[in-house]
């Protein structure tokens, strides 16, 4: 098959670069996919007119006025825009509710130099521009990324699962941690990672964000039964999903 390759641009905002690293560590999954795509490297200084691409992948959250400007330029140039990872998709760990004013924190960090480096409250990309599809996870799971790309190259706009991690966990045949009194968030967390953490004996901490219609009241009750305080339960819910919860309330 010698169809025209899909031109892909990767753009990196505020994050840990783990998503970027996850990509370069995917060589086992990627050879077949790489045959069909061409990764284009854009010098940021270039004007958007020369940004000729079919799809833009965005990693990282929006955290500064400069980020807002840049994401708008990318959106203008990209016919399809996909967020990759928790930071760009749901705000991710950057959006942990710190319970205090941004200005106050900046004051603590930079003192009277606080206005030297402008920052905004952390936002997912969808708070600023339209997002066509998303790959969840912190980090994204290589198999999930491969699934996404395969469907995408077949001409679909892939959708993420709307069912919880528990379903995948049961399929793996894991002994349930929650039943053993370990506060696992798999019940309310979006699947797609193959129950990565519970399969390794660790509770799910919700890095893929909440499923639609998550029953948070039921979760609170079972976490209370695990011995967590209200504050601890709130903290758990706000680890990755702070921005999603804001939308619900």
């Amino acid at each position: 098959m010698t169809a025209k390759k899909v031109r892909v641009g990767f753009f990196d905002f505020t994050g840990c670069e783990g998503c970027q690293l996850a990509k370069v560590s995917m060589e086992n999954e990627l050879p077949q996919i790489l045959e069909h795509i061409e990764i284009v490297n854009f010098r940021e200084a270039m004007s958007e007119k020369s940004w000729d691409m079919d799809v833009a992948f965005i990693e990282g959250s929006i955290t500064t006025p400069a980020c807002v400007e840049r994401i708008n330029r990318i959106r203008q140039a990209a016919p399809i825009l996909v967020t990759l990872g928790a930071c760009s998709t749901i705000g991710g760990i950057n959006a942990i509710r710190v319970g205090r004013d941004l200005d106050e924190i900046r004051q603590e960090v930079y003192g009277d130099k606080r206005y030297l480096f402008p920052s905004l409250p952390v936002m997912p990309v969808s708070a600023v521009v339209k997002v066509d599809a998303s790959i969840y996870g912190c980090p994204p799971n290589p198999k999930d990324v491969a699934r996404f790309l395969t469907q995408f190259l077949a001409g679909k706009i892939p959708q993420a699962p709307k069912y919880p991690v528990c379903i995948e966990c049961k399929l793996q045949g894991n002994a349930c941690l929650l039943v053993q009194g370990i506060p696992c968030m798999g019940v309310v967390t979006r699947a797609g990672c193959g129950a990565w953490c519970p399969s390794k004996g660790q509770f799910c901490y919700g890095c893929r964000g909440l499923i639609p219609d998550a029953n948070l009241d039921a979760l609170r009750i079972s976490f209370e039964e695990c011995g967590l305080s209200q504050q601890e339960i709130d903290n758990k819910l706000h680890l990755f999903s702070g921005r999603e919860l804001e939308k619900l309330s």
Binding site: F13, T14, G15, C16, E17, G18, C19, Q20, L21, A22, V24, S25, E27, N28, E44, A45, T63, T64, A66, C67, G92, I93, N94, I96, V98, G99, R100, I105, R106, E108, V109, Y110, G111, K113, L116, F117, S119, C138, P139, G181, I182, W196, C197, K200, G201, Q202, Y205, G227, S229, Q231, E232, N235, K236, L239
Partner: protein, 434 residues
């Protein structure tokens, strides 16, 4: 004829994150010369406040994907020290094994994909595929082996799953470990020697530049210290890790969202070269032999040699991986039961480990419910920025004297910054909340 130079590299490529090099020389006078960090700040210490003992490592892992194993180890050590959570010998052995893997993974990425294009005279790792396909093949295969080790012990390489306060939630089987050991003996080590051959063949392309400075790393330990030790300096002193603040002295500078540090001199360097300079005698003999092929011995003041020091550490770590697996297999692997609850006294703990780019500190104070009231993290890249600036300020006049044109100077300066392997995302973590 007087010389005027203006170099402005925005978003220098092949480093992790966003930084600019700015140099202005007017009429032979060096007016501006520094490395600007323009990455958006992230407020990790503020994010940690109010968080529980079982969450700190999950959060700080996200400071940096590449250093996530190192951040987790350091974080766990700080928490365990603060809350007096015991750790078994087996846990420590597995953690050291995981750290070896993370050092290999990060160094190989840096040496082969980010730094090697400079000495091999090509613009990028992509271009290497055409000019040196074998180097790319070595890079991919060795990195795969390093990642496989991290996956086996940590559950995954980026933001590992299994490492929690007091132990591991899951461990690899003896079969997996035996297989890894064989692959490290039969594949990893021979491939690393090939990498050494390639670098040695272009060794003269590492610029000849030295500036005397202080090197700080862990030291004074029973083995080459990635996981344990005191703070050691090539100026002769050692300090306990909980006195790190008297060594790091962070300050804010106008041109950078990352803070700078200094000890007794105006700057110091951390990373592979610093570790090697402080602990040369603890390297394996084979690693020492590789160092000798490049004329690298303690104390070496050429920052470009950091790349070679990374290679030397790779050889060292590949060998310690084999030794540690032997050790674990001989002892027999016990399933671990890390604590799910904590009840005890409030307290403060400082954790320090060597991550690929240098010495890292996490400092947490916990209340009686096991939640953080105060946190501070000092990241290696920050500790290097002041040293990078001073190197550039010494290097630019030298290059002018050697009659280099702007392009050659720019090339060398970019190479200098890359030699430090800066991880800029890490460095804009923000300081102190109380």
């Amino acid at each position: 004829m007087s010389k005027t130079v203006s170099i402005n590299v925005e978003h220098i490529t092949r480093v992790e994150g966003h930084g600019n090099i700015v140099v202005r020389v007017r009429d032979d006078k060096l007016e501006t010369c520094h490395f600007e960090v323009v990455e958006a700040p992230r407020f990790f210490e503020a994010m940690l406040k109010g968080r529980s003992w079982y969450e700190a490592a999950i959060i700080t892992s996200r400071i940096c994907g590449i250093c996530s194993i190192g951040h987790q180890m350091t974080s766990l050590k700080a928490t365990e020290t603060a809350l007096k959570i015991p750790v078994s010998e087996q846990t420590v052995l597995f953690r050291k094994l995981l750290v070896d893997g993370s050092i290999l993974s990060s160094h190989l990425l840096h040496v082969l994909f980010l730094a090697a294009p400079d000495v091999l005279g090509v613009p990028s790792a992509f271009a290497l595929m055409d000019s040196n396909p074998h180097a790319v093949e070595l890079a991919l295969k060795t990195k795969r082996l390093a990642n496989d080790l991290c996956d086996a012990v940590g559950g995954r390489m980026i933001h590992p799953i299994t490492c929690v306060p007091g132990g591991f939630t899951d461990l690899p089987t003896p079969e997996v470990l035996r297989d890894l050991k064989t692959r490290y003996e039969k594949e990893m080590l021979p491939m690393l020697f090939e990498v050494a051959d390639i670098l040695e063949s272009v060794a003269e392309n590492f610029p000849d530049f030295t500036r005397e400075t202080e090197f700080i790393s862990l030291g004074d330990a029973s083995e080459y210290p990635f996981y344990d030790g005191r703070i050691a300096s090539t100026d002769g002193e050692t300090y306990p890790v909980d006195e790190y603040l008297s060594v790091t002295n962070e300050t804010i500078v106008d041109h950078s969202t990352a803070k700078h540090t200094h000890n007794k001199r105006a700057s110091y360097m951390v990373g592979a070269l610093a570790r090697l300079n402080n602990n040369f005698d603890k390297l394996t003999d084979t690693a020492k032999q590789v160092a000798a092929r490049f004329g690298l011995a303690a104390v070496n003041h050429n920052p470009f040699m950091n790349n070679v020091a990374q290679l030397v550490e790779c050889v060292h770590c590949a060998q310690t991986v084999i030794g540690r697996i032997d050790d674990l297999l001989q002892r027999g692997i016990e399933p671990e039961k890390p604590p799910r609850e904590w009840k005890g006294k409030p307290g403060r703990g400082v954790g320090s480990t060597e991550v690929p780019r240098g010495i890292l500190f996490h400092d947490y104070t916990y209340d009686a419910t096991g939640r953080i009231v105060k946190a501070n993290c000092v990241i290696p890249t920050n500790q290097n920025f002041a040293n990078v600036d001073l190197d550039m300020q010494a290097f630019v006049p030298e290059m002018l004297q050697r009659g280099m044109d702007d392009n050659a100077m720019q090339f060398n300066l970019e190479m200098l910054v890359r030699a430090y392997d800066p991880c800029i995302s890490c460095s804009v973590h923000m300081v102190k909340v109380d």
